[in-house]
């Protein structure tokens, strides 16, 4: 069997259900690290054609629930071991889950790769195969176009720059290894480490920009939370300018998560109106509360809504303990009904905005605060942003290899071993630019160092 690949098998879009497919050597094992069935059985023990309900987990954290289908070779679409995981179709969930599968050992599938494998394993006829070729061609044409477009971009330039920096470090060590008799500068491990740390910072920055890039691409996930009946749905509706949530004065009206996409000054925000968090009595609402908690975990921004005209109860703040990682705006709503004196520690919020459904001006101020908090408006449009999973994985891999190199130097490994990791880091970046590693290094050695008899 070939190495394990993973990809979304359904169109990537906001949809009810999405299927992530893994195929190849170790597919079941890799899936079992990420998907844990509710009943006490691992995917590893399951026979082919069996399904299990369970959770997609990242360590202790539950990302989503769904169903996993196990196929054992040769009885599968590709003829290899296959696992298909059906989960909920939110983009964030898909990306997060895919990332988990990649981290556990799968690599992203190339265009048409599942089908290609199916053909190679005699799961398909000749005519079908020809169709596959067309797909690969079309896709590779598209990806070529995409790659060419990317080459003009800031990301490409930045990756090139970082790659040059690592190559410089690597080239010096390589020249020193291959030309021991030349009077080249000694390779000093503190120097090398210092330079590697610098590159490591650059790569980490690039990865954090990935997040900003995603905010632009996928929208800022904004979750509205608060005690029932403080006016969350009113805020939602005001922001989106339409009736999305059902507004009543019966608390607990919003039982499920309501989603809406708005743009403020050209930036996209995906708003989620959650069920009010409180001790729910009926079951339907309880599920809503659990969902709300899950949403908070994925949020980029929290609007914490308080009824400014009422005394605040302690348990209202309970929910904030799920929100520690995210920027938060405290929305004091219903201020037109008179502001009640409350002893609130506002320091835990990034800003406080007073709103009233009677005064649209207050909503404008909320919008401006939402924008400034995400810091996207200050983002330089030329800043390098990572735009897809493939690029992100390459950068992540380069970063991991650099860390390996640093730890190898620290634990006293010889240079021939250290350069294996540095080479691998360059290699994964070169994958984005399509160059060959050894040529790249040899060119560096000859152009920068005076070596030779």
């Amino acid at each position: 069997m070939e190495e394990c690949i993973a990809a979304v098998a359904t169109p990537i879009a906001q949809s009810g259900i999405c299927v992530i497919r893994l195929s190849g050597e170790g597919a079941i094992e890799i899936a079992s690290k990420v998907f844990v069935p509710v009943k006490n059985q691992s995917l590893l023990e399951m026979e082919g054609y069996r399904a299990a309900y369970g959770h997609i987990v990242d360590g202790d954290e539950v990302i989503d629930d769904g169903v996993a289908l196990v196929f054992r070779a040769p009885n599968s679409y590709t003829g290899e071991d296959v696992v298909e995981v059906s989960c909920h179709g939110g983009l964030a969930i898909i990306e997060r889950s895919l990332e988990l599968f990649y981290r556990s050992g799968a690599r992203p599938a190339q265009a048409g790769e599942f089908t290609k494998r199916a053909f190679l394993n005699d799961k398909m006829t000749l005519t079908q195969a020809e169709a596959v070729m067309d797909v690969i061609n079309a896709q590779s044409f598209l990806s070529l176009k995409a790659a060419n477009a990317a080459k003009r971009g800031a990301l490409y330039r930045k990756i090139n720059e970082i790659c040059e920096d690592i190559t410089k470090i690597d080239g010096h060590i390589q020249a020193w290894l291959d030309y021991p008799d030349e009077d080249l500068d000694l390779v000093d491990s503190d120097d090398v480490k210092k330079n590697l740390y610098k590159v490591k910072d650059d790569l980490e920055n690039l990865l954090s920009n990935y997040k900003l890039g995603n905010l632009i691409k996928n929208g800022v996930k904004t979750v509205i939370v608060g005690r029932p009946n403080v006016g969350k749905s009113t805020i939602m509706n005001f922001l989106s300018g339409e009736e999305k949530s059902i507004v009543t004065n019966i608390s607990g009206t919003t039982r499920d998560i309501v989603e809406n996409v708005i743009t403020i000054d050209g930036l996209m925000f995906v708003l989620f109106d959650t069920a009010g968090i409180r001790l729910a009595e009926d079951v339907v609402e309880k599920i809503g509360v659990e969902r709300a908690k899950a949403k908070i975990k994925e949020a980029d921004l929290i609007l914490f809504v308080i009824d400014g005209s009422e005394k605040i109860s302690k348990d209202e703040f309970e929910v904030l303990k799920y929100c520690e990682h995210v920027p938060k705006i405290c929305v004091l709503n219903k201020v037109d009904l008179g502001l009640v004196e409350n002893s609130i520690n506002f320091d835990q919020f990034d800003c406080v905005v007073e709103t009233s459904s009677k005064n649209p001006q207050t909503m404008e101020s909320l919008k401006q605060n939402m924008i400034s908090l995400t810091q996207l408006n200050s983002l330089d449009s030329d800043a390098p942003l990572l735009f897809n999973e493939r690029q992100k994985l390459a950068v992540q891999k380069a970063l991991d290899e650099l860390k390996n190199a640093i730890s190898a130097i620290e634990s006293g490994f010889t240079w021939d071993a250290v350069v294996i990791s540095i080479d691998a880091a360059i290699d994964s970046l070169l994958e984005l630019t399509g160059e060959n590693l050894s040529e790249h290094i040899v060119n560096e050695v000859f152009s920068k160092f005076c070596v030779g008899k």
Partner: protein, 625 residues
């Protein structure tokens, strides 16, 4: 009048380092072989540096030896001084290099050739290769004699249309004052071999008595000498010293002031020079900010006063050569015996070869060594060996002998040549291998000796020795995981000194030896059951394989992935322009290289993963038809 002189199976043209290995391999594998050289006195000559080995080149020599070639044995027998370079930088880059007695090396090799069964050594110049029906038929000497042959291996080094440049003067000539080979190039052009011009150079030889050695740094050989050959039984010792000197600003000034008299800078030389072996004027122009350059002062032999000045290759006029050499401390009164020169020669684009080193267009015609665009004695010998083996196997009706990149530097060298070609003379470097930690000079036998035995160049006796060593390695690997090392005051003090953490509780020796700071020499003191007669080379293998276990495993995974593509064979008679779905660039490149398998195809620049996917499916379709 033309006449048939001989009837042979294999004819080797040229008796340099490639030709010698090619002829010996072919004769030893049972083929009636003739080795033709323009001068019997130039057999296995070293017209440049009087040394063998160095980084990656030392690896090549060990590999040649492990396969049953001659270079390692000859180097051991004629060595003057030996050093392992790169100690302390890790086992993958430990590299053996020896200074060699140029004249006795030649005599030794000539003798080995003369004594070899099935081998005919003859002084003659070949001016024509005849091909009939796409197959090699015969070669023709300058005197018009025809030698019938089934295979021809071209190993003509820098002789083809060789042209010497010294300052503004130039003349047709080969290396070391020999004449160049004129005529064969025209024949090769008619056979549609794509020829081109490369260039290389060599420094001056000077008289030992004219050097003030008191002003120079001494460079001694290793106290314990590691031989090149795995089967060496000779007692090796250092017989000479080498020295180091440095250029200075005055040297650079003399050179800069005379650049206009260099054929390289005045544009007379059209050949492409090697990047790794720049002339001194090149170094000074390209690296203008370097205040000094190193040169090595190396004796050429025991029975001569000639000294080689490594690092000072030049094509400036002789008066300038003397002037700049005399600015160097220790060389104030230096006398030149042979001047430095640049040489330009015809060679062939190796992309037109299969990895067997046979020409794709002409059955039975092989190329090896500098003719294939490489540089260096070791690179040449490695190719000669592979070409010789393949020519013989083809005649005997046996399968091709191809080493892949994960097996050896030899395999890497040839794969690079035939897959990517080369735009300047190709020199081996460890940085060219993606499996550096697997391809060590210390384990060349483990990688290649079983293959050498299978081919028939390694004797039963040598092979048994090899098996014995492997058995000991296996036993020892098992043993040290049964040896428990306990903490003691003495041991922990030593651990601290070596910069590793103290031992808190007893641990297996096999675990402890994985620490970079520890080795057999430290731990065996605490191991009472240590067998006294355990050979050093066995300890070395055990230690490296455990210490670098993680890296070795990682590299092995890369190898496994590569070999999955490598086993998918591509037919050689394909017209890729008819394969639907390939991009235009990929079609052209594939048609030029005609890769033997998907792995090789994937390494061609301009062939991308989508093209490989297309080829994979196309292969499958073909199988289904």
């Amino acid at each position: 009048m033309e006449y048939i002189l001989e009837s042979m199976e294999v004819a080797v043209l040229g008796a340099g380092h490639a030709g010698v290995e090619a002829a010996l391999a072919s004769a030893r594998l049972g083929c009636k072989t003739i080795l033709l050289t323009m001068s019997l006195d130039q057999i296995a000559n070293m017209p440049c540096n009087p040394s063998i080995g160095g980084t990656a080149k030392g690896h090549l020599v060990r590999e040649i030896d492990a396969l049953g070639g001659e270079m390692g044995k000859a180097a051991d027998a004629n060595m003057l001084q030996s050093r392992i370079l790169n100690r302390g930088k890790g086992p993958a880059v430990h590299s053996l290099r020896a200074q060699i007695d140029r004249s006795s090396y030649h005599t030794y090799m000539k003798n080995v050739l003369e004594k070899q069964d099935n081998l005919y050594v003859k002084q003659d110049e070949i001016v024509e290769i005849r091909v009939s029906g796409g197959c090699v038929d015969s070669v023709v000497t300058k005197l018009g004699a025809v030698i019938k042959t089934k295979a021809v291996i071209i190993c003509c080094g820098t002789y083809l249309e060789g042209k010497i440049f010294v300052g503004q003067s130039s003349y047709y000539g080969g290396p070391d004052g020999s004449p160049s080979a004129r005529g064969l190039s025209d024949c090769l052009k008619k056979l549609e071999l794509p020829l081109r011009r490369f260039k290389t150079g060599t420094p001056a030889r000077v008289n030992r008595r004219s050097i003030d050695f008191d002003k120079l740094e001494v460079q001694n050989g290793d106290e314990v000498i590691t031989p090149f050959s795995f089967s060496n039984k000779l007692q090796l010792e250092n017989k000479i010293q080498c020295f180091v000197a440095y250029t200075n600003s005055k040297t650079h000034e003399v050179i800069r002031n005379n650049l206009f008299r260099s054929p390289l800078y005045s544009g007379v030389i059209e050949g492409v020079g090697p990047r790794y072996c720049p002339s001194i004027e090149d170094k000074i122009v390209r690296f203008a900010d370097k205040p000094r350059h190193q040169l090595f002062i190396e004796p050429v032999g025991l029975e001569t006063q000639e000294i080689y000045l490594q690092g000072m290759s030049s094509s400036l006029p002789e008066d300038v050569q003397i002037a700049f050499l005399r600015t160097i401390e220790g060389l104030e009164n230096v006398e030149i015996m042979r001047n430095a020169y640049a040489i330009e020669y015809d060679c062939c684009d190796p992309v037109f070869l299969y990895p067997t080193l046979e020409y794709k267009k002409i059955s039975g015609l092989y190329g090896a060594g500098q003719f294939n665009g490489t540089s260096g004695y070791e690179e040449a010998a490695a190719q000669g060996l592979i070409a010789g083996i393949n020519a013989a196997r083809k005649i005997c009706g046996k399968s091709e002998f191809i080493l892949d990149r994960a097996s050896s530097y030899i395999g890497t060298l040839i794969d690079d040549l035939v897959t990517k070609g080369c735009t300047d003379p190709y020199r081996m470097m460890t940085a060219r291998s993606e499996y550096r930690l697997l391809l060590r000079q210390d384990n060349a036998d483990e990688r290649l000796t079983p293959l050498g035995y299978e081919v028939g160049l390694i004797s039963k006796e040598q092979y048994d020795m090899f098996l014995e060593k492997q058995k000991k390695i296996k036993q020892e690997k098992g043993r040290i995981f049964n040896v428990t090392i306990r903490p003691s005051k003495e041991l922990n003090e030593e651990f601290i000194v070596r910069g590793t953490s103290e031992l808190k509780q007893a641990q297996k020796m096999g675990e402890l030896i994985k620490r970079p700071q520890l080795s057999y020499s430290v731990l065996e003191k605490y191991d009472e059951s240590m067998p006294a007669d355990l050979p050093l080379e066995v300890k070395e293998q055990v230690e490296i394989s455990l210490k670098y276990e993680g890296y070795i495993k990682k590299q092995q995974q890369k190898v496994d992935a590569m070999r999955k593509l490598e086993i998918k064979k591509l037919p050689i008679d394909v017209d890729y322009s008819c394969v639907d779905g390939l991009r235009l660039e990929a079609r052209e490149k594939l048609n030029k290289v005609k890769p033997l398998n998907l792995g090789q195809a994937s390494r061609i620049s301009g062939v991308n993963p989508a093209d490989i996917a297309v080829l994979n499916i196309w292969l499958k379709q073909r199988g289904a038809l």
